[in-house]
């Protein structure tokens, strides 16, 4: 099973990346170079995961030898016995989450690695490693440490361009607010320890406790950017470059979502009204705020607020229907959102004149990237025939089960949001390529529609693959 996963990820990354890079550089020699380079990077990726993960797993004699008691303390083999699901991989969120993580990570790295130093890649690796490990730990303090490692690398990634004023400013803001959230996470675990006398997460996930879980839920909501804690999101994301932005929007959040949906599932009903108001306000802020943005980073940050609102809404109404169905829907929506956002960031990065925040697109790079962007943005908007539409239909069903009014509100916000998505998607088609000058004339046009179709196919395959294991 594992090998199959890895194999398919390899194929997927291979096809995707070669496909993309073949556009800008048309010559055979570069094709060859990129092919080798891509393979190298993928092997590197997998190898690094292996190096980070394998010593910590139960199969590792190395780890057992030196830390014989660590099994019960910190880690368990996530492929054999997960602390929540008895090792049945098929019905688990982890697989999906991991695959999207791998995907995001690989793309972010590849997008960035061609013109950067090794520190960037290293930071991404550390962050992703902490993220992966946080799925497999069963101990509150270890989880806290892993989240802290992840957060620290994220602060560093935000401030990576250290001579840029906006970058360092954003990093400072993020650090100051984020460290509060981290402290509250620890407070939450401690209060659980005070209550139950244990740090074990599988016990935490079966207990409904109020006082300490407030800190936990609050800090997770902060990291996800849901309403009461969403004001840092546009401020910080605005100054990110495209690769980091893609990483922040998708891969950095999957384990947080996972914690909220699985570990804290029992305590969420305690915060029904808070979460309801919070998510509806997120919808409001995300949909209305996005209408006034002009840069793609800001747009995507508002989009992330909006989609966090949807996901939290699905979570809090999980009790009304079958829980497993809703969790399926949740993960479906999450994966779709992550992949498509990443695609959007990726194509926007290739379309924009420089890899900064300006929302200037170029038509003359062929209609291919424009079509990619078009596909991604309309998918996020939930328009028919794209996977996003079916996800939208399904979550509308959940809201219909609660109230027709709620469904109406959600449809209203999705319509508002669709305006800025559509604006984003058609801008490259409607803009005047001649005004954009040099870059426009350098990039060779490719056969229109092809990239759209191929990416569509790839994406569908990827999602089908998930389905296979479901």
């Amino acid at each position: 099973m594992v090998f199959e996963i890895i194999l398919f990820i390899f194929i997927f990354l291979f096809v995707t990346v070669n496909f993309f890079y073949s556009f800008n550089i048309t010559w055979l020699w570069y094709w060859f170079l990129l092919l080798v380079g891509t393979l190298f990077l993928m092997i590197n990726t997998a190898g690094t995961y292996w190096v980070i993960y394998w010593p910590c797993s139960s199969a590792s004699s190395f780890f057992r030898r030196y830390y014989p008691h660590s099994q019960s303390l910190a880690t368990s083999d996530y492929l054999d016995n997960l602390w929540f699901n008895g090792g049945v991989l098929k019905n688990d969120l982890v697989l999906i989450v991991l695959m999207s993580l791998f995907f995001c990570y690989g793309c972010a790295t590849l997008a960035r690695a061609w013109n950067t130093t090794y520190e960037y890649v290293l930071l991404l690796l550390i962050s992703s490693g902490a993220c992966v490990l946080s799925f497999s730990t069963d101990h509150g303090v270890v989880l806290y440490l892993l989240l802290e490692i992840q957060a620290l690398t994220l602060y560093t990634l935000v401030g990576y361009h250290r001579f840029s004023e906006s970058s360092t400013g954003a990093a400072l803001k993020y650090l100051l607010t984020g460290s509060f959230a981290s402290g509250f996470t620890l407070l939450g675990f401690l209060s659980f320890y005070q209550l139950e006398g244990t740090f074990q997460l599988h016990e935490l996930s079966q207990t409904s406790f109020y006082w300490g879980s407030t800190w936990l839920v609050g800090s997770l909501l902060f990291k996800l950017g849901v309403y009461p804690f969403c004001f840092w999101v546009p401020q910080v994301y605005r100054s990110l470059d495209f690769a980091t932005l893609g990483f922040f929007l998708t891969a950095a959040k999957v384990n947080i979502w996972f914690l909220l949906a699985k570990t804290l599932a029992c305590v969420l009903p305690n915060f029904y009204w808070v979460l309801l108001i919070g998510s509806l306000m997120s919808l409001l802020i995300g949909s209305v705020g996005g209408l006034f943005q002009r840069s793609i980073s800001s747009l995507l940050s508002y989009s992330s607020i909006l989609n966090s609102g949807y996901l939290v809404l699905i979570l809090i109404f999980s009790k009304h229907h079958d829980y497993a169905d809703n969790l399926f829907l949740f993960s479906l929506y999450l994966v779709n959102y992550s992949l498509v956002t990443l695609l959007l960031v990726y194509s926007a990065a290739l379309l924009s004149e420089s890899s900064t925040q300006k929302f200037r697109f170029v038509l003359a790079s062929g209609t291919s990237f424009s079509f990619l962007l078009y596909y991604a943005a309309l998918n996020l908007a939930g328009l028919p025939a794209y996977p996003g539409f079916f996800a939208k239909i399904l979550y509308l069903r959940v809201f219909l089960g609660v109230s027709v009014v709620l469904m109406g509100i959600v449809v209203l916000f999705s319509v508002l949001a669709a305006f800025y998505y559509v604006r984003m998607s058609v801008t490259p088609f409607f803009s005047n390529p001649r005004r954009n000058g040099y870059f426009a004339s350098r990039v060779r046009p490719v056969s229109p529609f092809l990239s759209f179709v191929v990416y569509f196919v790839i994406n569908s395959f990827f999602l089908m693959l998930l389905n296979l294991w479901w």
């Binding site: 028919p384 025939a385 999705s414 229109p448 179709v453 569509f456 395959f461």
Partner: protein, 605 residues
Amino acid sequence: MKVASFILTSVIATYWLTANNRYLWGLKRVCLVSELNGYRRVRFVLAAMSQVNTFPRNKIDDWAHLGIAWFDDWELFVQSTWLIEMPRARRTKLRREFYQRYFISQLVELLRFRLTSWWTRLVSATICSITMILIGLFWLPVVPELSFFLLGVLGLFFFASCVLDFPAVYCSWANFLAVGYPAVYCFWSGDLVFHLDYDFDGINLPFLFLVVSLFPLVFFSSVRVARKGSNVFLLLLFLIEALLVYCFAVDNLFLFYAFFEVLAFPMFLLIGMFGPRTQRISAAYKFFVYTFVGSSCALPVVVYLYFLYGTTHSHTSQATQFTEDEQSCLFAGLFVPFAVKIPTMPLHLWLPEAHVEAPTPVSIVLAALLLKTGGYAFVRFVCGALSRGIKTWSAVVEVLGTVSVFFGSVYALVQVDLKKMIAYASVAHMNLVLLGIFSGTSYGCVGATYLMLAHGYTSAGLFAGIGVLYDRYHTRTIRHYGGLVATMPVFCFLFFLLTLGNFSFPFTGGFVGEFMILISLVQKNFFLGLAAGTTVFLSLCYSVWLFNRVFYGVFSVHVKTHQDVTYLELYTVLCCSCLTVILGFFGSYFTDLSVASYLVVYYVS
């Protein structure tokens, strides 16, 4: 299966890349010379590489003296301008030689262009169908009904719609006329091609017929536009065709909603990318906002029906007993999107803008086909299932419809723009259709469908005619025209027939439809019929005024080109004119057969 389809897709994708990428074939330039201040200014036109091998290399130096140079770096080449001087005799000789070559190359390019466009259609259809199948596979366990449809039918039909649509729909139409039982047979072997879940009946066959018979004309009229916009234009048009066929073929509200909403996007892009003026973008956004907000009103209805009643088939909905509140809510939700498409008066503002900014073929599609999806949806999904909802809202609908008919005609009377005038005429006619549909009799509904059919051909012809005029004189302002009968007699005659069709002269298609609608309205309420009947007089006024102003009167100073219609334009406009007249004579065939279908809608439920 998955592996196989993946391989197939990759192979097709690769083939597409190599076969259709014109930059792999290389480039050739042909130069166009024109005089400017005693110098020659050289402009460059791109053509296909296929000419390069036959290009006489020894002539290049000669031509270089003339100012025609040979470059390998075409990016530099395109932006360059040379000013070169030369003896007059030599100049003349060389220029003649050059023009001969130039025209030949243009001819070859035209030929290649046509071949490419057909090939493009085929390949892209294949890719699209495979993609659709793949999406269907993914959603198989989630929405079984839908993915069954996507799997089997969509892929087949996507392909069929580009290869087989014409013979298939003609055959089924003929079959329907002959035996009253629609089926699709292969027209050379006589086998049954496919049996679908669709009901091909008297309700949707006219629309399907309209789509497949108008689209060749649309493609003919788009040759000029598609030249500059590469094959994206044709692809989008083709996509619209396929989607329209689906829209009219399905009787499932969910699927119809999906196609209906997707349909707006190629149109949005076509208006925004290929319109002749810079205001096109705001017009496209206007179109999008109206359409999208409208169709999002239908989304809750679709979700409601799909998850609470389990299905959205029109037959099942007709058999379901909805409560009265439910009916009125559902009707309100469904009325908005389809009224936007019709378009009814407060929601009509997108239409004139879109028409004015769109290129000619897009205007044809918009007026003749896209507006009809609204009417079809009313007949198919609203009339049968929500009869009590209609009764609740009937006062509102009638007032809106009548106001739109009257003011649409009045607005058409005061327009100064050719396209805007025809657009407002469309508003008036289509709202008469709306009144006919909601008159509550099968009679009115048949008339409404017939009027839609007739209006499809008439408005297509009128917009094609306006395109002909615009290509020659580059203006759409009516007062810039005058006395065209002297320069374009043939076109004048064809436009006259279309004008007759526009004000529903007897023995044109519109007359039959309008007559039936007005009869049913008078049966319901005399004053309603009277108010709606004002359009008979008003449409006469604006149509005849328009015709008179453009083709007769003082010969305008702006008319500088004296050229009658070319063969291509003749074909386009002639087909529409002929069909307008033919529909006026053979109405009873159609109405007798389709009354049965409408009786099902109105009385069985």
